[in-house]
Amino acid sequence: MTDETYLPVIEGLIFASEDPITADEILRAIIVIDGDSVEITKDDIIKSVELINTKYESELYPFKIMNIAGGYSFATKPELSKYLGYLNSEKIKRRLSQASLETLSIIAYRQPVTKPDIESIRGVNSDYILSTLLDKKLITIVGRAESVGRPLLYGTTDDFLKYFGLNKITDLPKPREIDELMQDEDFLEQKRKLLIQDIEETIEFELGDDN
């Protein structure tokens, strides 16, 4: 593609799309409207998006195009978050619980995975968490395992990617290998130290009371 006639079209499609739009979808939209004699490839679209995005790098702009859930989407820059939080203040978005995050991480890395597998890793019944995650559309049923009882298999969705700001599932950081964990002296993460102290004191108190 030598000319730049399609730049505003591509940008407009990304801007107007309700969900992240893929390069393929942009290409399809153009071909549907202008016919398949049009000389534009998926690669041209990817390059065009990069080109378009250079202009939004300037801090004059409050938003830029992001690669998210396999597609493109305009999103505001994080610097403005405090002002934009005002818009969401009525519908205060609740954060996911620790249990949901744990369950999601197992599903994300192990997918497709069954409920018994998830529960054996977490050591807790996970019915309720699974049903909440399904309703939030962060996970879905992706099939059935061949194992005994043919349990349902769960996997993550595009909404999951969007929720965590990921482009594709392989963008997830790699979990540490068991071997690596073996070397690790510091058993629990630093982040929980304060909490642990807290609990320790409480428990000692409670146990002391008992004795």
């Binding site: 818009l87 744990e102 068991i178 964990l181």
Partner: protein
């Protein structure tokens, strides 16, 4: 009783990890009796608080006890002639759980980052045209949606209405006979008592039509009854 932050533990494995850290235990050489004791003490608290996940906590307690017993017995030997450490499975499980727990922290970080950005809100476009594409049609619809739709349809299902077409087992002529026969025994009959043996609406209607027919034909006459909303039928002697 005061609240302790039991809810900070996402389950029994999380709690075990906490003990291991707190007591600086070597995860590969856990003192099972020590940790079981700690764990059971804790379990008492959980029972008092009636924590929602108590069942899962108790399940692990029984596992720990099981391991404890096996530790006292002669070691089982695997195919390679190696002794099997009764704790091995638990250790593996703890490490596996911990891996995902760490990743949950990462997810939490991504979540915070993502909360700092907003996507486009409203925008205006009023162009309309039709476009057919099954792939788009089904985008974001999964088996779960499908199954849920079915579950909903089925649960909303009212008992199937039975549409039976029955031969109407009654005619005006038959009901005229019925009234005539009745008036042979009683000279006067109150309408409500006439129809009290009649079970179906359709028969009732036909009886009423028959009565009107007979009045028209001067076979019977009707007069007011003492009771409100009723009337007396009498036969007209020729």
């Amino acid at each position: 009783m005061f609240k302790i932050k039991l809810n900070s533990f996402e389950g029994p494995l999380d709690l075990l990890l906490f003990f291991i850290k707190r007591d600086e235990l070597d995860i590969y050489d856990i003192s099972i009796s020590h940790i079981t004791n700690e764990y059971l003490k804790y379990l008492e608290l959980i029972k008092i608080l009636d924590l929602e996940q108590a069942g899962d906590f108790i399940l692990l307690a029984s596992k720990l006890m099981h391991i404890k017993v096996r530790m006292l017995l002669p070691r089982e030997i695997d195919e390679q002639g190696q002794e099997i450490d009764p704790r091995a499975e638990l250790v593996q499980q703890l490490l596996e759980y911990r891996r995902y727990k760490e990743m949950a922290e990462e997810f939490s970080f991504f979540e915070s980052e993502q909360r700092k950005i907003s996507y486009r809100g409203n925008y205006n476009l009023d162009e309309k045209s039709n476009f057919d594409d099954t792939e788009l049609l089904l985008k974001n619809i999964t088996v779960y949606d499908l199954a849920k739709a079915f579950a909903r349809v089925i649960s909303n299902l009212k008992p199937e209405p039975v549409h039976q077409i029955k031969q109407i087992a009654v005619t005006v002529e038959e009901q005229m006979e019925f009234i005539k026969n009745r008036l042979l025994t009683d000279k006067k009959v109150v309408f409500t008592s006439l129809v009290e043996t009649i079970k179906t609406k359709i028969q009732l209607i036909f009886t009423f039509i028959a009565l009107l027919e007979m009045v028209k034909m001067h076979i019977v006459g009707v007069s007011e009854s003492e009771s409100f909303n009723d009337f007396v039928i009498y036969s007209i002697e020729n």
